[in-house]
């Protein structure tokens, strides 16, 4: 039975026949339900669930734009309304570590994003197109991940990874907000709880958090990237290794080689016989003008006019030069 003849779901919802896609759809929906509950409970307002509505649409429509939009709207919604109005002088940062509401909200958000992206990979596009935009052939579709190859334990692994990431995020936030950098001390890190009210607020706190996060990112990312870089170097193929050596040698000797090869190429081009110049066509062989032929009076008027305008411009230029440069 063809897709068009299927009674349910309709052709544009045919992706729902894939059990793996359905699984990720339902898990994503459940995650969003949890997120909506947390947002409503936290703000006491049904409007707080607006990001979740957007995300539900993203799941059903399989739009690749919606996850980003959801993150932006959720970040906006996470800040309480009095804070937007500037009517509060208190901060909840000192109490923001390992709060159950945050743990659940962040976990549900991560779970939704993971489900949404996997659903996109299964039903819409698993990897970017190979050819550049101008060179794609008509009918070329980016490959999708076949649902039949998805192992059953994948969802469980996804939840485990998400749980680890939520905990890591909490720990990093704890370190970034509770520790303060002070390079005047022997040990440049010291405990300094963040201010709970504007009266005790230290203006250096944002900079301190930024430096802490930048340092943590560098500490984690750089060694990992270096390890992978070194691993890649150890596994270079003969062709790649040859190309690396060639490129390095070329960059070192480029200036000298460049000069030699330019001179050589110029010499070759001079030695090459030049094509014979084509003889000028005889008057009867010249192409006829494409437009209508002007009358003698028109041509005379045009020539005289051009001569007059040109002479006028030259006269003005001479006058200006004499006026400004001829002063004693």
């Amino acid at each position: 039975m063809s897709t068009a003849d299927a009674p349910w779901p309709a052709a544009h919802m045919a992706w729902l026949r894939d059990p793996v896609a359905r699984n990720y759809l339902f898990v994503g929906m459940a995650s969003l339900l949890v997120a909506a509950a947390v947002l409503v409970f936290r703000h006491g307002n049904l409007l707080a669930a607006l990001p979740v509505v957007i995300a539900v649409l993203g799941l059903l429509l399989r739009s690749p734009v919606i996850p980003g939009l959801y993150v932006v709207v959720l970040c906006l919604a996470a800040v309480p309304l009095p804070s937007w109005l500037g009517t509060t002088v208190y901060s909840d940062v000192p109490y923001s570590h390992f709060r159950v509401m945050d743990l659940v909200l962040v976990g549900a958000t991560l779970s939704y994003l993971a489900c949404q992206y996997r659903l996109l990979s299964l039903t819409l596009q698993g990897m970017p197109p190979d050819a550049p935009a101008g060179q794609r052939r008509r009918g070329d579709k980016p490959p999708k991940r076949p649902g039949a190859t998805v192992p059953p334990e994948e969802t469980g692994r996804m939840f485990a990874v998400i749980a680890v990431c939520v905990v890591v995020g909490q720990v990093v936030w704890l370190v970034a907000s509770e520790l303060r950098l002070d390079f005047r001390d022997a040990l440049p890190l010291r405990l300094a709880p963040p201010a709970a009210s504007r009266l005790r607020y230290n203006p250096a706190e944002p900079l301190n958090r930024f430096l802490m996060l930048a340092g943590l990112t560098a500490v984690v990312t750089l060694p990992t990237a270096l390890a992978f870089w070194y691993w890649r170097l150890t596994r270079l193929g003969p062709g790649e290794a040859r190309m690396v050596l060639l490129d390095t040698t070329w960059r070192e000797a480029r200036r000298e080689l460049n000069r030699q090869e330019k001179w050589r190429a110029w010499g070759l081009s001079r030695r090459r016989p030049k094509p014979a110049k084509k003889p000028r066509p005889l008057p009867e062989e010249r192409p006829e003008p494409t437009g209508p032929r002007r009358s003698f009076v028109e041509a005379l008027t045009l020539t005289c006019g051009m001569l007059f305008v040109g002479g006028l411009v030259a006269f003005v230029a001479v006058i200006i030069l004499v006026r400004f440069l001829g002063k004693p």
């Binding site: 990979s121 596009q125 060179q135 944002p206 000797a253």
Partner: protein
């Protein structure tokens, strides 16, 4: 490595973390927590993906077999479908959950059934199979470059591409013809002569009785026919028929001009098909067949033989000849680079990556010293030297006085004087900057990057060192030659320009006539008996340069050999009008006189004239000229072989 999806998520996460940690954290810690958790998730996904890729992606083993008729074959037959089976095995240690494998089929062949690409979950030691069917319409070569591997994570956030190169070529042999339909239909003798020989009604050392005659002293006693001798009471001697081989040599034109044509319909392909049918039909008649494949420079000679192995060898040579692509003779490096760069990026992604094939900033800058603008820049720089003349100093002073206000202090006046004095050097600097910066702007920068990457790739493939990179960058001729070779090696067809600016045909290949003539003379020198020379060559455009060939044909005719010229006719040219038909039938398309039709009709009539002239010239030398499309050329050749035998009979 990050996909656009991944870049968006990373940017939003980093932004949420940054804003959350610096601004929004005064009110709420949720925003930075969300950003940090997202970053942690991305980091974990990246580490897992990078580990899997490094541990496994470059440890793929590809095995390829071709199946035809249900069994594995080293070469396939033209005119039939065959199956390509590619088995990919992961020899690494980590699983790749989402891999897209795409075999690169030969560009000339269209898939008949199945798909050459599929997505898999690759696990170590568990092979996956891609199977699809292709159809080869004409003899030649099918080249498989390898398998393209695209790896992504399950969420589509990270992506890598590589190509497992495994270049392999399989011959497409000309189709096996039906022997019953090709060899001589009338059976003239009841007894079958030994393979490769034919009966000749002259006394010799064969097996069949030819005649009886009177005994002459010196005749061997064993040849005495005792019964007739007893009847006639005089000694009678038996005469036995002679047995002679009839050999034919096929000369196949594989020159550049004969390779021009649509894929699978070029003259050399058609000629190879006819030659294959000839070889098989003559082999079925137990005749000896030789082959000489010639082009503008060389002639590859295969001596006549008649074994089954020899026929297969001939088919291989014909397949190789039919596989040759025309050298387009392009000299425009940019045009060639536009074709070669995508091929290089697809087949050599590891050697064209910027990490190993770098594009430094200085590569794009256009030095003023390479241009004639240098002289202008130098002149402008040196222009302040005119201040050694008092008149120039006076001019500068007057100009400064004119442009300065009455209330200007001395510092402003000095600045004005310096501005006037340094105006021309500044102008020179501007020219230098504008000249150099042009190299950084597209499309010049794109051309430079493309050419440098290709130059480095060629240098790496040829192991020719960094000097070759610069040579390919600045020597257009060298770059064009190497790029053409690169494209032809990978069997990429380039657009052909058939006529030059003066309207002359660019693929005449005049030198092949001399090579062909030398090959014929060589065959005549090595001939034993009367032979048939079948020339399958595209000679129509060379009707006025056939003198060496005419002389060679005359030599062959003087030695009682036969020369038959079979012309592969272009597919888009109608057959010449039959003179015996009398009145010419007007084509309906001539009614609509358009420039395309007019040019086509002129070219066709010119081709017909050249064909008529060719027939006349070669007929004077005793050679017969026939179009391949006229009737059955194989039967014609076989009849001509019989005529050679007949000539011997009459002699």
């Amino acid at each position: 490595m990050l996909t656009p999806r991944g870049w968006w998520l990373l940017s939003l996460s980093a932004l949420a973390t940054l804003i959350g940690a610096t601004w929004a954290a005064w009110w709420s810690g949720t925003v930075p927590l969300l950003g940090l958790s997202l970053l942690a998730w991305l980091l974990v996904e990246w580490v897992v993906f990078a580990y899997r890729f490094r541990a496994s992606a470059d440890r793929l083993r590809v095995d390829r077999v071709l199946l035809q008729g249900g069994r594995t074959v080293p070469a396939v037959w033209a005119g039939g479908t065959f199956t390509v089976r590619v088995t990919v095995t992961l020899c690494g240690t980590a699983r790749l959950p989402f891999v897209h494998l795409a075999d690169r089929p030969p560009p000339d062949l269209a898939p008949v059934d199945g798909s050459h690409a599929a997505a898999f979950d690759l696990r170590p030691g568990e092979p996956v199979v891609i199977e699809y069917q292709l159809r080869a319409e004409s003899p030649g070569v099918v080249r498989f470059e390898g398998v393209q591997v695209r790896v992504a994570d399950v969420a589509g956030l990270f992506y890598r591409r590589l190509f497992v190169r495994q270049p392999v070529e399989f011959l497409v042999l000309p189709p096996l013809t039906n022997d019953q339909g090709k060899h001589r239909g009338t059976k003239r003798f009841n007894t079958l002569p030994p393979p490769g020989v034919h009966r000749l009604r002259r006394p010799g050392s064969g097996n069949e009785l030819l005649d009886l005659r009177d005994y002459q002293p010196g005749d061997p006693p064993k040849m005495i026919a005792w019964k007739p001798s007893a009847k006639r009471d005089t000694l009678i001697t038996k005469e036995i028929e002679n047995e002679v081989p009839v050999r034919s040599v096929i000369f196949l034109d594989a020159s550049n001009g004969a390779r021009v044509g649509p894929p699978g319909r070029a003259p050399v392909v058609r000629a190879a098909e006819v030659a294959a049918a000839l070889a098989q039909a003559a082999g079925a008649n137990r005749d000896l067949v030789g082959l000489t494949v010639f082009d503008e420079t060389t002639a590859d000679v295969t001596a006549p033989a008649r074994t089954r192995t020899h026929v297969i060898q001939l088919l291989r040579k014909l397949g190789e000849a039919a596989a040759r692509l025309p050298d387009p003779g392009h000299t425009d490096p940019d045009l060639l680079a536009r074709y070669a760069h995508p091929v290089a990026q697809q087949l050599y992604p590891d050697l064209t990556a910027r990490e190993v094939n770098s594009l430094p900033f200085g590569l794009y800058w256009l030095p003023i010293a390479d241009s004639r603008w240098l002289w202008l820049v130098l002149a402008l720089f040196c222009f302040p030297m005119v201040l050694i003349r008092p008149e120039a100093i006076e001019f500068v002073a007057r100009a400064a006085n004119t442009f300065s206000g009455p209330d200007w202090d001395w510092l402003a006046r000095i600045v004005l004087v310096l501005a006037i004095v340094l105006f021309f050097p500044a102008l020179a600097g501007l020219i230098w900057f504008l000249h150099g910066v042009r190299g950084l702007l597209p499309p010049r920068s794109v051309r430079t990057a493309r050419r440098k990457q290709l130059a480095a790739l060629y240098a790496a493939l040829d192991a020719s060192g960094p000097g070759a990179v610069e040579r390919h960058l600045y020597d257009d001729e060298s770059f064009a030659d190497r790029t053409t070779r690169f494209l032809l090696d990978h069997r990429v067809r380039l657009p052909l320009v058939l006529h030059d600016e003066d309207g002359r045909y660019r693929f005449r290949s005049e030198r092949k006539v001399q090579v062909l003539a030398n090959a014929i003379v060589r065959s005549v020198a090595r001939a034993r008996d009367n032979e048939l020379y079948v020339i399958l060559a595209d000679l129509t455009e060379l009707a006025d340069e056939l003198r060496p060939l005419v002389q060679a044909a005359q030599v062959a005719r003087a030695r009682h050999h036969q020369v038959l010229v079979l012309l592969p006719w272009p597919a888009d040219v109608p057959p010449p009008p039959d003179r015996r038909a009398g009145k010419r039938v007007r084509d309906g398309s001539m009614k609509s006189l358009r420039i395309g039709n007019l040019v086509k009709s002129v070219l066709v009539s010119r081709y017909h004239r050249a064909y008529a002239e060719l027939r006349t010239v070669l007929a004077k030398a005793g050679a017969t000229v026939v179009r391949v499309e006229d009737g059955d050329p194989v039967r014609l050749v076989l009849d001509r072989l019989d005529r050679i035998r007949g000539t011997r009979v009459r002699r």
